[in-house]
Amino acid sequence: MTLTGEDYRKTAMSDKGITYPYIPNSVPRVKEEMLEEIGAESVEDLYEDMPERLRLKGSMNLPQPLLSEYELRRHVEGILAKNESAPEYLNFLGAGCYQHHVPAVCDEINQRGEFLTAYAGEPYDDHGRFQALFEYASMMGELLNMDVVNVPTYDGFQAVATSLRMTCRLTGRREVLIAETIGADLLSKIRDYCKPTITITLVGHDPDTGQLDLDDLESKISDQTAAVFFQNPSYLGLIEVRGQEISQITHDHGAVCVVEADPMSLGVLTPPADYGADIVCGDIQPLGMHMQFGGGQAGYIATRDEEAYVMEYPSRLFGIAPTSVPGEYGFGDVAYERTSFAIREEGKEWVGTAAALWGITAGVYLALMGPQGMVEIGEGLMSRSRYAMLEMDKIGGVKAPVLRSPHFREFVVDFGSTGKTVAEINEALMIRKIFGGKDLTEERPELGECALFCVSEVHTREDIDQLTTALKEIVD
């Protein structure tokens, strides 16, 4: 496709007199009335303060519009038809975006115009938005065993990057230690975001298990360390089992322990707060958001209810408060004066439009799942990944998992002994309508021909068998 030629026409100011359905006052008679009322001859008069030299000469060179709703739908759906969606395949991709079942009620609620088109009204205008986000935070608080949870920030990456900057403001120190099993993209984000104020030091891991190397941690931590950060489960899918020891070492040096936790794991895994994490953060996409080509991400940050921590959040925090009528719940912004809305560059980082609708949706998801649902889904994910690893490991030349640790829902698979590259295997899987794991060869060259596979509750035993059968065919 090119954007010249028939696709375009010069759209000089037309005298066609189109009445645009979204622009009621484009009706010429109404326009005239309004101009007359304000004493202007034409709309052009309203731009009289814009100097000629800054004005666009002629009109923009844009594609011909699709004026009717039908034409527009047909055009856009025509383009979208070139996509092949994950449910048309068997999808074993994860790496931060997960294909879970999205309950119908989640979509029903987040597509309601009242939520979809609300924005920044006062609690008197938008009581429902405040209550829904307070309840989201409250349910996350139960999942995380933490008392403070923010109105969502953009995504898990932002949540981690902000958490690390919070620790530097809290401690007055400028170095963070990060478990080197972190994904390259998240590390890229952290490096950019922390650049002005923070030095990043990576902490090694045991190559057999993927667990953080505590000796390396001990050797690198000092009284300059603001934070120790690790993910649980890690980017490579394994469960870090020595959280208590890591947080102890961290606290012994007066640093803050930051853990990124997958909320989907917390029905079965110990919440990081219980092994000493001070700030817990991550992404809530798994909790009721469609994948949306990466558009379902939203970030959470959680801490204990300590003033020093609360005052370092850049995000909005919604709190519950009484009203003038006994028994009526009211809501509002907690400690608003810390935000950039209140005090511009003196505020903590910045606050703005982020991902509130996904917070509301995650609240709906947690309310539907309840305690039992979160336990069952956690168990189900671990069972499936365990089964998938056992079956894949039986295939000649395939090793799964590479790292000898308990895994949650993702695991690294080594195809090094098959004589085929990950790219070749994924290409062959795609022909069989299967999306294989994320290719790690560029990101983790030390692992060789490895890929990160992911299962979810959408996979039946037969689905996993179909994957292993296909892999057998491909590597034989």
Partner: protein
């Protein structure tokens, strides 16, 4: 037979709406919990027994301290109870679908077309994993590529990233690109000052600060225009750049904006145009033509994607050709046959988000722009400006209200008004007037802090209200202002017709009483569970 309609008009004009906001007095969701209820069931992992993969055996692979001892204390509700609770909460909002949404100035609260919501929730959008092979996502990549071409034409810029997660994230991204540019020239340490104006969005200052710059804020001249002399005095060999809005949040267009850019260029800095306020200038004036090096648009403002209670939105950063190498990775590229995600950009500032931003928001923005074309986009701008000046003319007839600065000049797409005179007369504050307006189904926001314009409110009608909508809005505000004189108590004690009554904000600033979660609240009121 009596004509009911006759009672709805006075002197030929509609009476004020007898509004009451939905009030369900809905409990907190934990209060609705009933032990044992289930809202949804989870698919089991069925099939022939595979002992090692059974749940109990799998959990047994975990060390005891990593195994959660008690299920999380989430509420237990059946599905209809969850649905009803949230539908009720949804009704207790004044979204743009419901009210004449003029009062959230700077935010461009226009109509979000429903067709675009339908397209954005199409399975070929929502069910795409971001790491699928490129040949399976050609459609969404094409949408992103096509929309980039549209933004290039609207702004005159050479390359766009659609990755920033929202407007402020885009401002931050531009600040980070400016930092990378000076680093590439070996001037990063020296050029550590970012200049902005007090009537540019607070995020210009806050994001620059976050990116490591010292912020210099310029104040306007007496007429409300950004002060060119102040800028000349502020620039130096330490200047990294200028981050500025135009029109500013006052709705005043700076006719010397190209001179501002020149002064900063002469000092060796870059200029980033915050185009959150672009709605009145689409097809009228362009960022690149004023000399800007970078700009950004808010796709949830100007480009109609709904605001979603505060996101997800999307920011789009545009730059001139020689800065394109710094844009976040990946960019969407087209080789004449297929679309690709281009990661091979060694000078890039890196990843801003986990994947590519919010593609469904980009899709909505693309569909909106395609429904209008060049002529329609210009009509958007012109009617937004017409509506604003029509509103201004009517609003200024309300005694006690003024529009400080640039007297007699037209405003672009919004106006920052002042109730200073009314407040002096009645002692009723702007914030209180806004809350009283909620009793008539109308939302109104004061302004960003600090309040340089005293007792402010910022109104931005956009192109989507009708003339009657604008008249209704003015009638309500006029009525409320009149009440401030005749019955100030009714304004001060407002709202009366809202979901809730006056909120006591003191606990929200008191660490011993604030509560951001239900568990914290129960603990603080002495009702700790278990």
């Amino acid at each position: 037979m009596e004509d009911i309609a006759r009672h709805r008009y006075t002197d030929g004009k509609p009476n004020l709406r007898r509004f009451h906001q939905a009030k369900w007095d809905e409990p907190i969701i934990f209060e609705l919990s009933c032990e044992g209820q289930r809202g949804i069931l989870v698919p089991e992992f069925e099939g022939e027994t595979q002992t090692e993969a059974d749940a109990e055996d799998v959990l047994a692979t975990l060390p005891d301290e990593m195994r959660r001892k008690e299920p999380p204390k989430l509420p237990e509700l059946s599905q209809p109870q969850v649905l009803r609770h949230y539908v009720r909460l949804s009704q207790e909002n004044l979204g743009a679908d419901l009210n004449v949404e003029i009062g959230q100035g700077t935010c461009t609260m226009k109509y979000s077309p429903k067709i675009n919501d339908q397209l954005a929730t199409h399975p070929d959008v929502v069910d795409l994993h971001p790491l699928q092979q490129e040949e399976t996502v050609q459609g969404i990549l094409e949408i992103m590529y096509r929309f980039e071409q549209i933004l290039k034409e609207i702004s005159g810029m050479d390359r766009f990233s659609l990755q920033p997660a929202a407007g402020s994230a885009a401002i931050y991204t531009n600040a980070s690109i400016i930092r990378a540019y000076h680093e590439s020239r070996g001037e990063a340490g020296q050029r550590d000052e970012m200049i902005t104006t007090i009537y540019s969005h607070p995020s210009n200052a806050a994001c620059a600060q976050t990116a490591g710059f010292k912020v210099i804020t310029l104040y306007p001249d007496e007429d409300g225009y950004p002060d060119l002399d102040a800028l000349k005095a502020a620039v130096s060999e330490r200047t990294a750049g200028l981050m500025i809005t135009n029109p500013e949040d006052t709705g005043i267009f700076n006719p010397e904006i190209d001179d501002f850019v020149q002064v900063v260029h002469d000092a060796g800095g870059l200029c980033a145009y915050d185009q959150a306020n672009a709605n009145g200038v689409l097809g009228i004036t362009r960022a690149r033509d004023a000399g800007f090096d970078l700009c950004h648009f808010n796709l949830h403002k100007t480009f109609s994607s709904p605001h979603g209670c505060g996101g997800p939105g999307a920011g789009a950063c545009g730059v001139r050709e020689d800065l394109a190498k710094f844009l976040p990775v990946p960019l969407v590229a087209f080789d004449g046959e297929a679309y690709h995600l281009d990661y091979d950009r060694p000078h890039s500032i890196g990843k801003m988000v986990p994947f590519y931003g919010y593609p469904p928001v980009v899709l909505r923005a693309y569909a909106w722009a395609m429904s209008l074309g060049a002529e329609g986009l210009r009509e958007v701008a012109e009617i937004a400006v017409l509506n604003n000046n029509y509103l201004l003319n009517k609003m200024l007839k309300i005694p006690g209200l003024s529009a400080p600065y640039a007297e007699g000049k037209r405003r672009v797409e919004q106006v920052r008004y002042s109730w200073e005179e009314l407040v002096e007369e009645t002692d009723v504050r702007s914030e209180e007037l806004g809350i009283r307006a909620a009793d008539f189904g109308i939302h109104y926001w004061t302004s960003h802090h600090p309040f340089i314009v005293p007792e402010p409110c910022t109104l931005e009608p956009t192109e989507t209200p009708s003339k009657d909508d604008l008249d209704e809005y003015v009638a309500v505000i006029s009525h409320v202002a009149q009440e401030a004189r005749t019955n100030p108590e009714v304004v001060r004690t407002a709202p009366h017709n809202s979901t809730v009554h006056k909120i006591d904000h003191d606990p929200l600033d008191d660490p011993s009483r604030w509560a951001m979660t239900w568990r914290a609240y129960r603990r603080k009121v002495g009702q700790e569970r278990d």
